[in-house]
């Protein structure tokens, strides 16, 4: 035992030895991660604190900025609900990790492993014989009234035999230093992908030997889980089935994580509309037709999973999905209906259920919980209201969430709540969470400040039992306020390092990184491209070119506007009349219609972010941002023309990043087909107008500019442009990459590479459109390509596009 005086001395000692800890004073009676109950620095932190102490505040600020930069470069973001749903927020990573010793961690995992088995047993009982209810270990009303309980799943055994495969636990350290489970996440736990990103950032902030070499790696966890999922998907089957991650879509607050996990694990990122169910089999709609799906890792709640059997208003589910589950053809991670376990009142009964089912007490207790449906529990909560957190019994919020329905003892509402006889409340002991150092601005400059925290622990089922992510995801609240842990209200997150006394060996094999945010881990791109992704790639290609062509026309317009003094100039009128029907008003320097094209492209790209590089995404965002800014500043004439040149250069940058770096796979074909067909269509339209016999002669120059072929024309013909030379160069010249023939040839070649391009050597409908057109352009002359003929060319291109959509995109 240490006497009080010694405690003080020790802390002063540590403080003196480590100037970084100056002013770091945990509250009396609250556990702290840095200092144990006796006030001594926990040994696991010592080397890390030494590292920090060797650095100046400026050095630290620089280091921390590196982490932020990484997260920005990687594009890590989250969304805040209740504002613009598509606004992306910077990821609030605290640069100071939480350090836990591997021995302590092993104990936590051992306790949680027991808990995970218990949850599985409870789940199996609730959807099976319901003995727990019959024997009175769990009030029947808590289940029958629980919106998370899916009646549809009663008596439906999960494929593979188990209901739960991926869980997370929210744990906190109580004042006596022991750990408590604060909440179980069983429906669709989030945070594992973010935890991994936190780690990537942390390794950039602290590349030092300590903590890096002494920290357990996280990657193995995902590898093991991925293998387990593959096992589950192919369980009892003779051919491999696809694995997909089912996301609610990009408006979800954790969409980034879905994107990240799908990319990291090489699994399909699917939205409801990607999947159809036929004859009890779930299938991905791909460009090659439906492909069977063996497993879905769902990130949507059960109630949204299938509008036919759950919430009929769901727009993000799959009609018939429950059919596939009922017939035992589709494995779900986790099983539908697993949200029933998240109700807060479950915590009141799990300790006893553990003894009933396993004969053993919980190794890691959960937060003390009283269900007020029981009269004696209710009076206990009432009598001790000042140290209670009270919430609806079936609330699924975590007790320390900032947006949770929890009412704390001190608040006057509580007495009122407890007076109501309705038994649908739970009381939970208002434990004081431990604090951990967080880097904060203070009046004396930035320093370490003790802030309350909880830790999220991730568990995955493998054939060898539960495996735990070695590390986790800490949620940190502002100093002195343990009720604001959620990021939605200014909380932050931190990496949790599991530290060994010895060096942790590097995992075998190549390091799992190829650069920020990119496909970190190379897996074979298994299976076919989903139709929705192909559709978005195709239209991304079309919209980008549509934007680019309009920008060229606008540049041509403003260049002429700058040098003419007659507003009725026939060329200006011709361009205006050409653009007007497609929604572009030349009266605006940066027309709304132009921006709209870009936003359409951006919309397509956002839906398939998992399919191209982060660099490409940022290039596109930059393009949008620039264009929007220009609408505020650009003036007609030279200025607008220069603006267009800037936009065209940035577009070329985006296109370059995407097309240069994209693997030559089906996705690339659709993107390129979109670009090619759009370009061919514009060329035909431009020739139709600007090379028409009735058009003024100088209109031919506009055609050359739009096709970016003025230089080529000068070099090839060395004379004034005539209709013949211009049409020859822009339509018939196979050597000119901006010619109609070139584009049609390319499109035909791309189409030849698509699935089912030919049956018994007969080309499919798309090629049957393109082949005669290509021939016509190859053997025809400019004289044949009349305005009328060009109209037909455009109709053929439209037909080819429709045939493509019919064959592959729906």
């Amino acid at each position: 035992m240490t006497r009080k005086g010694e405690v003080m001395d020790q802390r002063t000692d540590s403080g003196a030895a480590s100037p970084i800890l100056k002013g770091y004073e945990p509250t009396q009676g609250v556990a702290d991660e840095l200092f144990d109950r006796d006030g001594s620095l926990r040994p696991v932190w010592r080397p890390f604190i030494d590292t920090l102490s060797r650095l100046s505040v400026d050095d630290l600020t620089d280091k921390f900025e590196r982490g932020k930069q990484y997260l920005r470069d990687a594009g890590v973001y989250y969304r805040q609900y209740s504002e613009d749903p598509l606004e992306e927020r910077e990821w609030p990573l605290s640069p100071i990790p939480v350090l836990l010793h591997e021995k302590e961690w092993a104990q936590i995992c051992d306790g949680l492993s027991q808990r995970a088995d218990l949850l599985e047993a409870v789940m199996a009982d609730l959807y099976g014989l319901a003995r727990l209810l019959g024997e009175g270990h769990l009030p029947a009303s808590l289940i029958a009234e629980n919106p998370g309980w899916a009646r549809q799943m009663v008596g439906v055994p999960p494929r593979g035999g188990q209901y739960l495969h991926f869980l997370s636990f929210e744990i906190g350290r109580s004042p006596d230093g022991s750990w408590l489970v604060l909440g179980d996440r069983t429906q669709a736990p989030s945070g594992a992908g973010f935890a991994l990103e936190n780690r990537m950032a942390m390794r950039r902030i602290f590349p030092e030997d300590f903590p890096r070499a002494y920290t357990h790696r996280m990657a193995g966890f995902f590898e093991n889980f991925r293998d387990a999922l593959e096992g589950l998907s192919s369980f009892g089957r003779d051919r491999p089935h696809q694995i997909g991650l089912l996301t609610p879509g990009r408006a979800n607050d954790t969409f980034y994580e879905h994107l990240f996990i799908a990319r990291y694990l090489g699994m399909l990122l699917l939205e409801g509309e990607d999947i159809i169910v036929q004859n009890g089999e779930a299938m991905v709609r791909t460009i090659e037709g439906p492909v069977p799906l063996g497993l879905l890792w769902r990130r949507i709640d059960t109630s949204f999973a299938d509008p036919l059997e759950f919430d009929p208003d769901s727009q993000i589910g799959v009609p018939g999905l429950m059919d596939a589950v009922r017939m035992g053809n589709l494995a779900m991670v986790n099983a539908l209906g697993s949200g029933v376990l998240e109700a807060r009142a479950m915590m009141a009964f799990l300790p006893k259920i553990s003894r009933v089912i396993t004969g053993e007490p919980l190794k890691l207790p959960n937060i003390a919980t009283w269900w007020c449906g029981d009269d004696s529990a209710r009076s206990y909560v009432s009598d001790n209201a000042d140290r209670m957190m009270v919430a609806p019994a079936l609330s699924r919020d975590l007790p320390f969430d900032s947006n949770s329905e929890t009412v704390r003892g001190a608040e006057p509402e509580l007495a009122h709540l407890l007076a109501d006889p309705a038994p649908d409340l739970v009381g939970q002991e208002a434990v004081t969470l431990s604090t951990t150092p967080n880097w904060r601005e203070t009046p004396d400059g930035p320093r370490l400040v003790p802030c309350p925290m909880t830790v999220r622990v991730f568990a995955a089922r493998t054939p060898r039992g539960w495996t735990f992510m070695q590390g986790g995801y800490a949620r940190i609240g502002p100093e002195g306020d343990p009720t604001a842990l959620g990021m939605q209200r200014g909380g932050s997150v931190a990496d949790v390092l599991i530290v060994s006394d010895k060096r942790v060996p590097e995992p075998a094999g190549p390091p799992p990184t190829t650069g920020p945010g990119d496909g970190r881990r190379v897996r074979t791109e298994a299976g076919a491209l989903p139709s929705r992704a192909a559709d978005n790639l195709y239209w991304l290609g079309r919209y980008i070119v549509r934007f680019e062509d309009a920008a060229r026309l606008l540049r041509a317009y403003h260049l002429r506007l700058a040098t003419t003094d007659t507003p009725e100039d026939p060329i200006l009128a011709l361009i205006s009349n050409f653009l007007d029907p497609v929604g572009i008003d030349t009266g605006q320097p940066i027309p709304d219609g132009l921006i709209q094209r870009l936003l359409w492209a951006h919309g397509c790209a956002a839906k398939i972010r998992d399919r191209f590089s982060t660099d490409g995404w940022f290039a596109l965002n930059d393009l949008v941002k620039t264009a929007r800014q220009m609408t505020q500043t650009a003036r007609p004439g030279d200025d607008a023309a220069r603006a267009m040149s800037v936009l065209l250069r940035k577009t070329a940058g985006f296109s370059g990043v995407v097309t240069e770096n994209m693997y030559r796979f089906s996705g690339w074909r659709f993107l390129s087909l979109g670009r090619g067909l759009e370009r061919a269509d514009t060329l035909a339209a431009v020739l139709e107008t600007f090379a028409d016999a009735k058009a003024p002669e100088s209109a031919l120059d506009v055609a050359l500019e739009v096709a970016d072929s003025a230089m080529a024309h000068r070099r090839r013909y060395a004379l004034e442009a005539t209709r013949e030379t211009v049409v020859d160069l822009l339509a018939h010249d196979a050597g000119n990459p901006r010619s109609l023939l070139f584009q049609v040839r390319e499109a035909e070649m791309l189409a030849e590479g698509l699935p089912n391009a030919r049956t018994a050597d007969r080309p499919n409908a798309i090629i049957r459109e393109l082949l005669p057109l290509r021939t016509q352009l190859e053997i025809g002359t400019p004289a044949d390509l009349t305005t009328k003929a060009l109209e037909e060319v455009r109709a053929t291109i439209a037909n080819a596009s429709n045939r493509l959509a019919n064959a592959h995109l729906r």
Partner: protein, 293 residues
């Protein structure tokens, strides 16, 4: 009573629909001592690409059907014979509604017949203060749960006007209540909401009513289409009773039950989704003829 029942529902789509998938809850269930369905036939046109049947949690017969290729219409044709037995006499002892809560709290049962599924608000039958107050206004102190069901049912029958123009299939119970008008579906949802509001578990019954009344009796309302009424749990002795607020009577041998749910969503005759745009229109016709013995 023996009945021959036929039902036709035709859906027509303005544009061909791809990947149409329906769940039909149309085949009546067998109920021990109350209802037998000796024969039935359910025909779907065009022929579905897939079709199978299963029994849902509440014991209802569900037909799952899907058409993989585009279709422009779906015709549903159901015919069955039903035998409705006279309900055996029950000892109508029912606790006071104030006592019902304690009884419910002691139940250890979440099987399909348990009243605990029917106590909390659902999407179509929410608990709303105005409806709960309305229900309370029609209850005398010390009323048994069974009498309360009748009192609330009568109040709804009296206050509400039956009107097929006032609401549609998606109208919320509260809207219909505020209009004081609607069809059997609205009457049923309002009554369920009222009963749950005062602590009586209540659910939705979907079915048919005989087309022509027995000689000397008036033709009932709701005979030209499918019908809906309410069941309520009035204590462990009596269990469930069925009351029709549209006609202010307990459901007897004039009624043929398709199945049960917490509200319409659980037992909707047709739940469907399809890919594609455009509107759909539907027509329904029902005939319920007593069979002379």
């Amino acid at each position: 009573m023996l009945y021959d029942v036929t039902l036709r529902i035709d859906y027509t789509y303005s544009h061909p629909r791809d990947q149409t998938r329906n769940l039909l809850r149309l085949l009546p269930i067998d109920i021990p001592n109350l209802q037998r369905i000796p024969e039935w036939k359910l025909a779907l046109t065009p022929l579905p690409s897939e079709r199978y049947g299963f029994v849902d949690f509440f014991g209802n017969n569900v037909t799952s059907a899907a058409w993989h290729s585009p279709i422009e219409e779906v015709k549903i044709s159901l015919s069955f014979r039903a035998e409705r037995l006279t309900e055996p006499a029950r000892f109508m002892m029912s606790p006071d509604i104030d006592q019902l809560g304690h009884v419910l709290a002691s139940l250890r049962d979440a099987t399909p017949l348990s009243p605990l599924h029917f106590t909390t608000p659902t999407r179509r039958a929410p608990i709303e203060t105005v409806m709960t107050n309305f229900a309370h206004d029609h209850l005398a102190p010390g009323l048994s749960a069974l009498d309360a069901v009748q009192a609330i049912g009568r109040a709804i029958y009296t206050e509400m006007t039956y009107s097929s123009d006032a609401t549609d299939v998606d109208t919320e119970a509260l809207d219909a209540f505020e209009k004081r008008a609607g069809v059997c579906q609205d009457f049923a949802h309002i009554m369920i909401a009222c009963l749950r509001g005062v602590g009586i578990p209540a659910g939705y019954v979907s079915g048919f009513l005989r087309t022509f009344p027995p000689p000397g009796k008036e033709k009932l309302v709701g005979v030209d289409a499918m019908h809906a009424w309410v069941r309520a749990w009035v204590g462990p002795e009596v269990g469930w009773v069925e009351f029709d607020p549209t006609n202010n009577q307990f459901a007897g041998t004039d009624y043929i039950t398709i199945g049960y749910g917490r509200d319409y969503d659980d037992i909707a005759p047709v739940r469907g989704t399809m890919r594609g745009v455009g509107r759909q229109s539907s027509r329904q016709s029902v005939d319920v003829q007593p069979v002379e013995a």
